[in-house]
Symmetry: C2
Subunit: 233 residues, 2 copies
DNA sequence: GTCTATAGTCGGATAGAC
DNA sequence: GTCTATCCGACTATAGAC
């Protein structure tokens, strides 16, 4: 056993540091504007290492995207396992669906307002503007499964068809309330006069989102009941 | 009178064409990635014209930002004049506030899903990620006044304090539902299977947003009435 | 595997002819 | 006012020493 880390371990560490630096700079400046020089410097690695380990700047960008997908996946897995167990029974218990809708959205909000995920969500925002291969990768592996489960929970509580476009849109609109606090972050900071989004601000945002969820879900459920009553008369 | 346009008119036309080309390419590729050469080519102008008329690439970018501010201002002015007339009376009529909330949000949605404003909103999205002087300019001139009026309408219907942070957040969350259809455009396209957001899609989105507005506003109003009842008991 | 040196390209900006 | 030619810096990527 050598005293210094094995070559493989050193390589793995170099890759990890380049991915971390890439996440930082790609999110801050965008994939085209961030330079390999600066990434290498921040990672404490040589410029040539990027090309040795990832083939190209774009290769590093895709590795960063995969890291993001893994991170989101891992952060939501415990909750999603419970949701899957609930949704395995059909029809799922409406009150439990409602509880998990709130729990999931609060968890997403916590994750999205966390400082450590700011760079991650900046890359996702950029990918919405200029979708590349990276968005497909992240969408397929994480966004779509999360979005789909959330839609099925909404359907489970309200009685809507989980595959209907309207149900998807209702769900997306609800998620949009949460997203707007990250994607229109600058607007909300200027309007409220906050200089940052810390724990007290997030607490307030979560309270407001929880109220909106209730109002929209109950509205949707009542509407659904009304439609079915009309259908049976 | 010369047959050819006067020098001033030619200069104005050159500036307008450079701004149009800048809007197109800055939105598509971002301020750093878009090149002066390509902008000049698309505008049918010489590269040197950018520096002659705007001093620098950044000068052109700020001129594009001012064009966007003017566009948003002009597009909303007729409605905002009516809203100002309504809000001049204190307290404003709640039912009229409600009508204008829906009217405004439908108008914003129409504007935001319009193909001609796609590039405009891409620049705004980018400015949320990497705020520059341009965002301050647009925010102060247009976003803040619109956001503030919308907040006052919500306050007018629900009885909330228009300057309370909670009211601003409730309003922002509601606007966020609409924004998410533009800012998370790629997600919604992949989830619904739409290949575009055309008139039929926008109609469906507007229906759904109108329902959510009703549910949230009535929830907020009932909540406010409950709080006041507790206060008086 | 890791680094230095450098090739090759393209960017913003300018000087100076017309 | 308008255009061409060009400077100069910075970028990605690679060749080749170690």
């Amino acid at each position: 056993m050598p005293l210094s880390p094995s070559p493989t371990a050193r390589g793995e560490q170099a890759k990890a540091q380049l991915i971390a630096a890439g996440l930082e700079l790609f999110s801050e400046k965008g994939a085209q504007t961030a330079t390999t020089r600066e990434i290498a410097r921040l990672a404490g690695q040589n410029i040539a290492a990027i090309f040795y380990y990832f083939g190209s700047k774009e290769g590093l960008y895709l590795a960063v995207a995969q890291w993001i997908a893994d991170f989101i996946q891992q952060a939501n897995q415990p909750l999603m396992v419970e949701v899957d167990a609930l949704l395995a029974h059909s029809p799922a218990d409406p009150e439990q669906c409602r509880a998990y809708i709130i729990k999931s959205l609060m968890s997403f909000t916590e994750l999205l307002t966390n400082k450590e995920t700011l760079n991650l969500s900046k890359i996702l925002s950029r990918e919405q503007l200029m979708p590349t291969e990276a968005y497909q990768l992240i969408h397929r592996q994480t966004i779509a499964p999360l979005h789909q489960r959330f839609t099925r929970l909404v359907a489970g509580y309200t009685g809507c068809d989980p595959s209907a476009t309207a149900t998807i849109l209702h769900t997306h609109a609800l998620l949009g309330e949460m997203l707007s606090f990250r994607m229109a972050r600058e607007t909300i900071l200027l309007r409220t006069g906050w200089d940052d989004m810390g724990p007290p601000q997030v607490t307030l945002i979560k309270q407001i989102l929880a109220q909106h969820i209730d109002w929209v879900l109950n509205g949707l459920r009542a509407d659904r009941a009304r439609v079915q009553a009309n259908h049976h008369e």
